[in-house]
């Protein structure tokens, strides 16, 4: 899985769960994954350790953290980019939902369908960043 895809899956997953008080700590998950993976002596223990660390960051958002440690981050810049994209997207997505006039939306699309549509639009809009 590309870091870019993981960020969007994490964005959708985060909307299924209550937001923890220190939700922003989850943004450290890609950096942890890169740091732990980079330390060679850990070998095959690197992945489970990164997963444990991601869960410890925000237990209530464990699935979100786990999704963010799944991809292989090739460089520190890639992990920083994923963290920044995740943080930025979270803020933008919330602001868009706040502007949405749900009462005007047809009942069939209200709620999850329109939220998923917005996530999909943002995915295709930012897709070029996956090639940076």
């Amino acid at each position: 899985m590309r870091p870019f895809d993981a960020v969007f899956l994490a964005l959708v997953a985060s909307r299924c769960l209550d937001r923890p008080k220190r939700w922003w700590l989850v943004a450290l998950a890609p950096l942890l994954a890169y740091g732990i993976g980079w330390y060679e002596p850990l070998g095959r223990f690197a992945m489970p350790l990164a997963a444990l660390a991601a869960v410890a960051l925000a237990p209530r958002w464990a699935p979100v953290g786990l999704l963010l440690v799944l991809p292989v981050y090739g460089t520190l810049i890639h992990s920083l980019g994923a963290a920044a994209t995740w943080l930025g997207l979270d803020v933008v997505f919330d602001a868009l939902l706040a502007r949405l006039d749900e009462s005007a939306i047809t009942p069939r699309l209200r709620g999850w369908p329109i939220r998923l549509a917005i996530a999909g639009i943002l995915y295709y809009t930012l897709l070029p960043l996956a090639y940076l």
Binding site: V91, V92, A95, L96, A98, R99, L100, D101, A104, I105, T106, L109, I114, A117, I118, G120, I121, L122, Y124, T125, L126, L127, P128, L129, Y131, L132
Partner: protein, 319 residues
């Protein structure tokens, strides 16, 4: 509202503004028709029909205020001349159905419908949009923004005459410019948005460092503001898409920030990704930032404290 009342009606109606926009789009549509012939005419007509029929189906009353026709015309300008007619029909319908009515209809859409349709169809049917070479009238040439090895840079004369392969809206840059300036003169759009966007695109074309994708493959993309202004979708985006009042910020300062965001993403895509052009994508990204821009700039206009500012009490502010 960005200022306090009282307010007076400007006399403008939605229909009147839409007719103005359609008139200003007509030079570009006619230029595309003249340049690419009947094929382009079919694409334009199908995009207009797709948008209008979707509007008729979803909101019969609005079908006659011309908003759907404007969306269809703008979407047509984003299509390549080699696009099949059904792509125009589908795109026009997606723009109105998904871009406008899925969000609650006129005035409630978060994204520019034409840009949304273009980007979604580009994701689902990339074969019609990602061609970096175009065969028109038996001649095969590369898009002026193509970064592939073997592409040839266009000359200034070719650029200004629109004699480069690209979307229908690139057939005649001067026609887009005439239409856009007409809208500015009629005060149908805020001049700050196109001016800031185009100035930022030109500035970034001069200062952005080269990437491995450009160096050695397409050096003409570097330090060439004219190419970036007329070679891609910049002009159509600047005058007809970013200026959509529903999806642009309310305040003048917000609109400047909005245009800079769009220019930054346009140039980021052109310089550092394999995509030939990022203008339509930039419209959507800028649209997505509008609630944040409004929150930061409207607070100032309405007298509230802007984001992150320290609120002074009346006592401490008194001399």
């Amino acid at each position: 509202m960005t200022t306090a009342g009282p307010f007076i009606h400007s006399g403008q109606t939605n229909r009147k503004i839409m007719v103005m926009v359609l008139v200003s789009l007509s030079p570009s549509l006619v230029a595309a028709l003249v340049r690419y012939g009947a094929g382009a005419g079919l694409v334009i007509l199908s995009a207009l029909a797709g948008a209008w029929l979707a509007e008729l189906l979803l909101d019969r009353e609005q079908a006659f205020d011309c908003t759907a026709l404007v969306t269809g015309a703008i979407f047509a300008l984003l299509l390549p001349p080699t696009a099949p007619w059904w792509l125009g029909l589908l795109g026009g319908a997606v723009a109105i159905g998904l871009g406008k009515h899925a969000f609650g209809g006129l005035g409630r859409n978060l994204f520019n419908p034409a840009a949304l349709s273009r980007v979604l169809l580009m994701g689902v049917l990339p074969v019609y949009f990602f061609s970096t070479t175009w065969t028109i009238g038996g001649l095969t040439r590369a898009s002026p923004l193509a970064k592939e090895s073997g592409a040839i840079g266009p000359t200034i004369t070719e650029l200004l005459a629109g004699n480069t392969p690209g979307a229908l809206g690139q057939a005649a840059p001067h026609a887009v410019l005439v239409g856009g300036l007409l809208l500015v003169l009629l005060r149908a759009i805020d001049w700050r948005i196109p001016l800031t966007y185009l100035a930022a695109v030109a500035f970034l074309a001069l200062v952005l460092p080269a990437s491995a994708r450009i160096e050695g493959h397409a050096p003409w993309l570097l330090g060439n503001p004219l190419l970036h202004l007329v070679g891609g979708g910049s002009l159509v985006v600047a005058f007809f898409m970013l200026t959509d009042p529903v999806t642009a910020p309310f305040s003048p300062s917000g609109r400047i920030v909005f245009a800079i965001v769009a220019a930054l993403y346009t140039m980021l895509v052109r310089f550092y990704t394999p995509y030939p052009d990022g203008a339509a994508l930039a419209v959507l990204l800028a649209n997505a930032t509008v609630p944040l821009i409004d929150r930061a700039t409207l607070a100032r206009a309405s007298g509230d404290a802007p984001l992150g500012a320290t609120v002074l009490s009346t006592d401490s502010a008194a001399p």
